[in-house]
Amino acid sequence: MDRLPRWADLALVPLISLLLAAIISALVILAIGQDPWEAITVMVQGSLMSAYGWGYTLYYTTSFIFTGLCVTIAFHAGLFNIGGEGQAQLGGLGVALACLFIPWPHWSLALIGASLAAAAFGAAWIAIPAWLQARRGSHIVITTIMFNYIASSLMIFMLVDVLRPPGQQDPSTANFPAVTHIPSLDELPLFNLIFTKPVPANISLLIALAVAAGVWVLLWHTRLGYQIRAFGKSEAGARYAGISATKITMIALMLSGALAGMMAINNVMGEAERLVGNSASGAGFIGIAVALMGRNHPIGVVLAALLFGFLFQGGAELGMWTKIPIEMRIVVQGLVILFTGALDMMVRMMLTRIFALFRNPRPVGAA
């Protein structure tokens, strides 16, 4: 098969996949008797046309950058970490314990401490599946699915039986002490010129961007990153080059889990300021779509996270202002995963054919 030009591979394939997902979403909206044009107007209006809307869009974006990077780093090692959801919930537990039980003198120290705790808990939650993958050959996809369910049971137990303050009805921790409050964008200098009303997006956005840059450096400019990518391209080749399969599997997956866990500084520490049930609320799974859409590159992940932040906030607006249920965003998410992840080959086949038409025009008269 002919190869596609690099620009087409990097930009055109995801854009066409996205277009296909958008067309089918529009058809779905038509099929349930609603107006797709009205839907897109409401979504843009509610998520991008005001600073307040951006405050929510960027809040979701922050979470999705973390979970998207989580899936990306595992993909580069040839592994599919589907357990970001569980790891993000455990990250939330780490943040909650750090915020509730350590007397922090200042929010900045609390943020560093909570980030480390979140990363450590996320990494710890994938350690067993990672070890099983590396040493016992158990498929990481299946074990991380199982660990997602074990995580949600564990979190219910922790919130109902352990961390819930006496006399409280709903299963959640107590509110975190005021000193652990991290600034939201409306409280940060410069940003507060744009964001005048309180918004949920907070300083973790900047951390997420820094972490994305860090992942880029790690993957393409360090020895470890080279080893991870080599292992992902060819396990046999990597072994032959003296790269330890066990070591790389463990490191790549634990970094992946740590990234998912770090999401909790955004939603648990930055927004809720206490740990509630089902804290990750699906962001771990959206990471899969974000990584696929972003072609497993940190820049792509940041852009795709922004797109999904828009979809998420826009979807919430749909649920509020139109007759289209909020679940529409799950449909779009599924379609994006389907087209960018699983039907990649179909789009590529289509494009290759179109490119071939332009490249070798059939000589006139030749039969």
Partner: protein, 322 residues
């Protein structure tokens, strides 16, 4: 714990194990043919919604069952096209279909009924009602066996008995028919099957479509027998428990039945924390019992309880040599 309580627990076990058995056997066909399917959950959900809606409109549970099977088969077809025809990543396709199902079912149910993404409650002939097996009333008073027969074995809907039938049929198909032999072969070594002149694509598509039919039965059972109507996310991870049971059973039909009964028993226990509390001296939270199937599966995957080896060609799209 008295005899009556044990019988109640076993009765609930069978009810809860039925959708697991359908879904687990469904996964068995697909995975034995070399197509991984983590989209069992989504197909069940679609079937539950379709059967709930159609059973409500027509008042006939059989029409509902048919619609559920068709809905689930439509999703199976997409899975087949993606993973067999376009050689896409089977795991990602499964994840995508689960999300699609989760969103679409609510969207459609809301568009049709405007009840917050539910279908209206089903009554009478729009549901599978319990059937009393012959002699159950007469045997009721026989000590020990009588109540067992009356409470546990009799009094289920027809789909419950069908599930056990499907297990037996699957064993026969897999190990006693030509189709079964070829199906198992195509999951281990598709090139050999291709060389023998049998279509790999054809076999895998038929397996994936059988998966669709059986997931349809699982979903229809959820909406028209276990409960009266479809509710948002009503399958609640059962597709994944079925997947766990399939691995626990090492991809064998009869073992799959026992695994589903075991996991169904855990689910039944999780509902009856009072019973658990009366046996053990300390308190076990219900969430621990709910997590047990998953924990056990991890142990099996770890190879501590025998080794679970998946079909060798599983997950790999087959590319014919030219």
């Amino acid at each position: 714990m008295d005899y009556a309580t044990i019988l109640q627990l076993l009765d609930t076990t069978i009810r809860l194990a039925t959708p697991l058995m359908f879904a687990c056997i469904a996964g068995l066909y697909s995975e034995r043919s070399g197509v991984f399917d983590i989209g069992l959950e989504g197909k069940m959900l679609v079937a539950a919604m379709c059967s709930g809606a159609v059973a409500f409109y027509t008042g006939s549970v059989w029409a509902g069952l048919g619609a559920g099977i068709l809905g689930s088969m439509a999703f199976a077809l997409i899975h087949g096209l993606t993973s067999i025809t376009f050689r896409g990543n089977q795991l990602i396709a499964g994840v995508a279909l689960n999300f699609l199902a989760s969103g679409l079912t609510v969207l459609v149910a809301q568009a049709l009924f405007r009840q917050g993404g539910r279908t209206p409650p089903l009554t009478g002939d729009a549901r599978f009602n319990p059937i009393t097996l012959p002699g159950a009333e007469a045997m009721k008073d026989v000590p020990l066996i009588g109540p067992l027969y009356y409470e546990v074995i009799s009094g289920h809907s027809v789909l419950v008995y069908a599930a056990f039938g499907v297990v037996a049929l699957t064993w026969w198909v897999m190990y006693r028919t030509r189709f079964g032999l070829r199906l198992r072969a195509v999951g281990e070594n598709p090139a050999a099957v291709d060389t023998a002149g049998v279509s790999v694509t054809g076999l895998r598509f038929s397996a994936v479509m059988i998966t669709g039919i059986l997931c349809g039965l699982a979903g229809a059972y959820m909406a028209t027998a276990l409960q009266a109507g479809f509710g948002k996310e009503m399958t609640a991870g059962r597709g994944y428990i079925a997947l766990a049971a399939l691995i626990f059973a090492k991809w064998r039909p009869v073992a799959a039945m026992w695994a589903c009964l075991l996991f169904g028993f855990f689910q039944a226990l999780a509902l009856r924390s009072d019973v658990v509390g009366s046996i053990v001296p300390f308190r076990i939270p219900g969430s621990f019992l709910e997590a047990l199937p998953y924990v056990l599966t991890v142990f099996v995957l770890a190879g501590f309880v025998g080794k679970a080896i998946p079909p060798r060609a599983g997950g790999e799209p087959y590319v014919k040599e030219r």
